[in-house]
Amino acid sequence: MKTIQQILHWSEVWSPLIPLAFYIVLRPKARWVKPIVTFLLITLVFSIIIDVIWKRKTLGINDWFESNLWWWWDTDPVSGKKIFKNNIFYNLNSFARLVFFLLFFSYFYPFFKKLSRLVPWVFLILMTINFIWFENIKDFSSRQHALEAAILLFCSLLYFYKTNMDDSVVSPSSLPEFRVVTGLTLYTAVNFFIFLFYKYLMGLPEFKKYATDIWNVHNVSFIILNLFIAAAFIKAKKSE
């Protein structure tokens, strides 16, 4: 059970390696592959940082953090303990996910092209306002994550609708990108409420364990998203 828990804890690091390995082996030439691979690389880097910070005691590098990154340490307002937050990387990862998935969508319908040019800037302005006046950027931003998930879920459903209405597409499910969108739909649908209430639950001591446990659901959905991306790469190669 402990091993499974550890595998799940590190899933944000190892699961992007699955589609990346397929990309390296197959090298699909479809244009939409580029933003996805870029996102996978960025998320891999952020996830390594996030998990190394989280597991620093297990990895035996807590002292190094204390002596070299003393300026990053905060004090927990509830327990008064010194804490080293990794949440800023979650926030950055969320922004990267929004930008690169919008870029991915922009390859399919002109509407998404306009959306991919406009939405990241509006999102950036809103988040800047949020982090200046309402939230600390070093804390996990439920608002940012939920908004990002809502935008991506809207894009996914819109993609399904447009593909469904497109008479030139005989079999939408045979399109490689359809698999990426399906994975993303599941990921955003599952995580919208997790993102929305995560910060709130973490702030309540009686729900802290529940919040930590429900993050495993996020991890499982992230593994599923990566498997769908890998399947899309395989299909894209076959379609060439």
């Binding site: 459903l157 469904n164 079999s171 939408p172 639950l201």
Partner: protein, 257 residues
Amino acid sequence: MITLGIASMLLLAAGFLLIMVVNQRKKWQLQRQMSQLKEQQQNQLIESAVRSEEGERHRIAEMLHDEVGALLSSSRIFLVEMNTKNLSENDKQDHGKVKEMIDESIQKVRSISHNLHSTILKEFGLNEAIRHFMKKVTGGTPLNSTVELDEEYQIANAETDLAVYRIIQELVNNLIKHAHPRLINITSSLNENLLQFNIQHNGNGLSQEQFEELRFKPVGLGLKNIQNRIILLKGTIFFSRLTNGEYAIRLSIPVVI
């Protein structure tokens, strides 16, 4: 509450996907119906084109036989009845030559007329028409041929027989013109409701890929005609090179007897 939220969101996504799958199925069915209609329309077009071609062939054959042939025959009668006693030796020779040329013209007109509209096919059936055709095209040439046809096959449908005859006629004419074989073997077999012809030759033949390529070129009218007739008969044609270096054309036609 979160669990409820996740479940409702998943339900929403699943519902969307379900609607999409249902719609996709409808789309498939519609596309299938459309392609069936398209195929039906194409077959009707081919059928009417083939019918009008056959009608035109028949008309030209009749005109050649009844009008040009009759005119040539009367000319011959007049020429034979002509008094040649008073003609000089030179003129007598010319008279003989003219008679020979008219005889040859009558033969040619008859041959063209039969080629355009085979009376043998109508009266004696497909097998006899193919045998007669092969005898005619190889007669007096260095080309040899063998014809072994399944005698079990009787006339199934006059239109089918005519289309099969035209395909074989076109294929053999093409072989003589382009492949320059020294030997052509034609065999046929009737298995249940499938009539199969195998045309084997030792010339410079075609592979299936070459046939597919040529039939879309504007110059390959003969191959296009062959393909159209095959589509009409719902049959297949396959070109191949055998291990002994010879070429084979396999023609399969479903027939109802």
